[in-house]
């Protein structure tokens, strides 16, 4: 009975509990949620969702998409530097996606440097200028404010009229970064309308040896060029022959085929550069003693009568030169420059017994050697009878041009100090850079006014009062004129691959605007295209040369062309005009020293340096890679991951010099000169000779964030600029930062 009662009670209790709603406690809920999350992690669902979502974020409508469409090819030319290599652009739906060299092209031989390969990216550079700007003051922290071309022209109008009326203390100058173009003629015409107007060419825009030789030859007509195709010995004082000299494909091909053509390259350089590595002989010279070496070589040639007999009669300063070189015995010079005397003699014999060329190097960041050194290097060519000789240096006719230009070209260094009130800087690039102090000292004492055409905000923009955006590479129709050092005059068009933004300003338009503001009539053609058509017209009228198809498959003499439209059409399809005129006669009365007096060489034999004391700071760079904005950010791989190229902010120093200064590889060092100091990272580099700080003026491809203020000048700000405009060597000390 009792059992039955208990059983009934239990059943009632169960029944009552079942009647209650199910209670889920907070703990149970959290346990369930935690278990679900944990369990889900062991299924593919979250990982797949994560992956899909990541890809989904790449498909948002605002993200630029690669175009899809028909594939076409366009032949054009690279305008990033004066080399002017031929380019074959692969385009998808009209948009350029890859650039390569053009195999079979007679001038660039299918070679295109990494800068050119990524040239179509530069239009999208983060530091791209997309509208005119004005700096509100001269200070480094003065803000950059948007402006318009009309505003700039109206602001400049009083100054332009003032300069025209001769009541101004300073004058106007145009700095052409790439002379020899039709635009250059336009610049010269423009400045000739102003009293004392100056047309200056930027450092690095011309070959230093040829510029010096022009003065030694005392000639103004024609263009000097190297006949490297027939040369057997090249003595190069640091010219980067296989690393961005003139049109790279030209020298690279010559050196590749040296087993067939018998060419020998002797590289004189204080660092085992890429060119030195590929040279037949590398002469590691103590920087600053190049003049002594050139004079010692000249001495061997003179003493052993290795020069052509006519030189003694035709060179008015031969005996002065003979007396000068007699003081530079190879044995004495060997102790100073570090090159054995036997090698000096052998070099002299090699030069004298073969068609040869002696050239100096214009480093893209280190600039030229000093003028005294450049003179004796160029003078070796005169002594060897290389001028006007096959395999030497020729004087060829320039590109046909209709009118005489009224303003002569001068080098920037020759512009009188504090003479420029208004400076207009051209937007094209020579690929070289220079210290801003060289430019600053040409401006009037109040700092002058600087108008800068440029596609980008760069370190040079720090000097500008007005920034005018010019088209980036491959955005506008441009010309490719004769590269520096070329054997023949040539002309081609660089056809646009990208649409030019409406806000960019054609240089011809800017000149027309400024001419209008100063009350001048038009300076000529209104657009660059009309200038280029005029040049094609002049070539056609001259009936000179031949037009080659882009791939070099056929050539048509201009003489055989029915109309100038036929020539223009050929050029517009990527064709290349090359002159075929015979060389001009060179003035036989060539000087060996020009205006240099022998006493300039009294200190040519500087003593070797103590590696623990003052060192020699030598900036160096790679053409077109000396400024942030000139390098496509995609090339960061070249500079940062592979270390194929050196980045800015580093200095290469011989390990023994580092050790002597109690420094180690990778240490941050403070470099001090009379101009200031800066911190850089030291790289132990045995290829640099002891006693030298090889400072890289290179790009920072990832340093593209700031649009507010141009980046600091860096190592070039420490360099001492001499009166002749050179800044190659500066005394410096280093210490641990």
């Amino acid at each position: 009975m009792q059992n039955a009662t208990e059983t009934t009670a239990v059943l009632i209790a169960i029944s009552e509990r079942e009647k209650r709603p199910m209670n889920i406690t907070r703990r149970e809920l959290l346990t369930f949620a935690g278990g679900s999350i944990l369990g889900a992690l062991f299924t593919p669902i979250p990982w797949k969702l994560l992956d899909d979502s990541a890809i989904w974020t790449q498909n948002w409508s605002l993200i630029p998409r690669l175009p899809r469409g028909p594939e076409t090819f366009t032949f054009t030319g690279c305008t990033l530097c004066p080399g002017g290599c031929a380019v074959k652009a692969r385009r998808v739906n009209g948009h350029p996606v890859s650039l390569v060299g053009v195999a079979g092209h007679s001038l660039s031989n299918g070679i295109l440097c990494p800068m050119g390969i990524a040239g179509h990216h530069l239009a999208y550079h983060p530091l791209r200028l997309r509208r005119p700007f004005a700096f509100t003051g001269k200070g480094a922290d003065s803000p950059l404010v948007p402006s318009t071309l009309d505003e700039i022209a109206s602001n400049l109008a009083p100054m332009l009229k003032d300069i025209r009326s001769s009541s101004s203390k300073g004058t106007i100058a145009v700095l052409d970064q790439r002379p020899g173009r039709v635009l250059s003629d336009l610049y010269r015409k423009f400045v000739s309308n102003f009293p004392g107007g100056i047309y200056a060419v930027a450092p690095g825009s011309e070959d230093p040896t040829l510029t010096t030789l022009r003065a030694l030859c005392n000639t103004t007509e024609g263009t000097l060029g190297y006949d490297l195709e027939n040369t057997r010995v090249i003595l190069s004082f640091g010219a980067p022959l296989v690393d961005g000299w003139s049109t790279p494909g030209r020298t690279v091909k010559l050196l590749q085929n040296r087993n067939q053509n018998g060419l020998k390259l002797i590289q004189v350089e204080g660092v085992q550069s890429r060119t030195a590595l590929q040279a037949d002989t590398w002469l590691p010279i103590m920087p600053g003693t190049e003049a002594a070496l050139a004079l010692a070589i000249g001495g061997v040639i003179v003493r052993q009568n290795l020069f052509p007999a006519k030189i003694e009669k035709t060179s008015p300063d031969f005996h002065t030169y003979k007396t000068l070189v007699s003081k530079f015995e190879p044995e004495d010079v060997a102790a100073v420059c570090g090159i054995p005397s036997s090698v000096i003699s052998e070099t002299a014999h090699a030069l004298a017994s073969n068609p040869s060329v002696v050239m100096s190097g214009y480093d893209p960041a280190g600039g030229p050697l000093d003028s005294a050194t450049e003179t004796v290097i160029a003078g070796l060519n005169v002594l060897l009878g290389n001028i006007g000789r096959t395999g030497g240096i020729s004087l060829h006719p320039p590109i046909p041009s209709p009118g005489a230009t009224t303003s002569p070209a001068v080098g920037l260094a020759q512009v009188p100090d504090h003479s420029v009130r208004l400076l207009l800087i051209d937007g094209a690039e020579s690929g070289h850079t220079y210290p801003l102090s060289l430019l600053k000292r040409k401006l009037t004492a109040d700092g002058g006014t600087v108008v800068m055409l440029s596609p980008y905000l760069s370190s040079r923009s720090a000097l500008a009062d007005y920034l005018v955006p010019s088209p980036a590479a491959f955005e506008s129709l441009e010309e490719i004129s004769t590269p520096p050092g070329a054997r023949r005059s040539s002309f081609a068009l660089s056809l646009p691959l990208l649409k030019q933004p409406d806000t960019t300003v054609d240089p011809a338009t800017l000149l027309a605007k400024l001419a209008g503001a100063s009350g001048l009539p038009s300076v000529g053609a209104e657009t660059v295209e009309s200038c280029l058509r005029q040049r094609a017209h002049d070539i056609w009228l001259s009936k000179r040369g031949t037009l080659a198809t882009p791939t070099g498959s056929s050539q048509t003499p201009v003489m055989a062309m029915a109309s100038e439209e036929e020539l223009w059409k050929g050029l517009s399809e990527g064709g290349w005009w090359v002159d075929n005129m015979q060389d001009k006669q060179v003035n036989p009365r060539l000087t060996l020293l020009g205006l240099m007096t022998p006493d300039r060489y009294d200190k040519a034999s500087a003593p070797a340096l103590d590696t623990t004391g003052t060192l020699k700071l030598i900036p160096f760079g790679w053409r077109n890679a000396t400024m942030t904005a000139s390098v496509a950010p995609v090339l960061s791989k070249l500079f940062q991951e592979s270390h194929l190229r050196s980045l800015g902010g580093r200095v290469h120093i011989n390990p023994s010099t580092l050790a002597a200064n109690a420094l180690s590889d990778g240490a941050y060092v403070k470099i001090s000169t009379h101009s200031g100091n800066m911190t850089a990272q030291a790289v132990a580099d045995p290829s640099v000779i002891p006693g030298v700080i090889h400072a890289i003026v290179g790009p920072s491809p990832n340093n593209t964030a700031s649009k507010d203020r141009p980046e600091a000048e860096g190592i070039l700000g420490l360099c001492a600029v001499r009166d002749d405009g050179s800044w190659r060597i500066t005394e410096a000390t280093i210490a641990k930062a």
Partner: protein, 160 residues
């Protein structure tokens, strides 16, 4: 329109992959052939199938490109040079694309609604575990193959 790879690559015609999926002179890969390539053989109808009729009437005659769906289309930020893999490393097409070249019909193109790409990129199996070695074209597969071949990797090798 249905496309039969096997008819083209089989004994009767004996075509190889690169006869249609060509490389250009500069070594770049053309990918999906254009209508001009089809027209080389199909300027007039060959046979009487419905697909052949569609090909000739709707695409070859008006010279209109066929809007092919691409099962292996990668995101725009992934750069894959066929030349380096096929010409230099001598990797067979089948190693990545499977026996596509001997198929009689094209598989149904299934799009991933979130990512917008073909489901073949992840692989048909949601677990990511392939049923066949050639299934899936995700980055892990690239990395694994490179590691097996002792190739150095860098982000910018593929992501330009």
């Amino acid at each position: 329109m249905q496309f039969n790879h096997a008819v083209h690559t089989g004994e009767q015609n004996g075509m190889t992959c690169d006869m249609c999926h060509e490389f250009t002179e500069n070594g770049s890969f053309k990918g999906i052939p254009t209508i001009a390539k089809c027209t080389e053989c199909h300027s007039a109808a060959i046979g009487s199938t419905e697909s052949e009729k569609v090909l000739v009437e709707q695409f070859v005659t008006p010279h209109k490109e066929i809007p092919w769906k691409v099962y292996s289309r990668q995101p725009d930020n992934a750069y894959f040079p066929h030349a380096a893999h096929v010409k230099r490393a001598e990797i067979k097409c089948e190693e990545c694309h499977g026996p596509h070249g001997s198929s009689n019909t094209l598989p149904v193109y299934q799009v991933n609604r979130i990512s917008g790409y073909s489901r073949d990129i992840w692989g048909r199996n949601i677990s990511g575990l392939p049923s066949h070695p050639w299934e899936g074209m995700k980055m892990d597969r690239c990395v694994r193959c490179h590691a097996e071949r002792h190739r150095d990797d860098s982000c910018l090798d593929c992501h330009k």
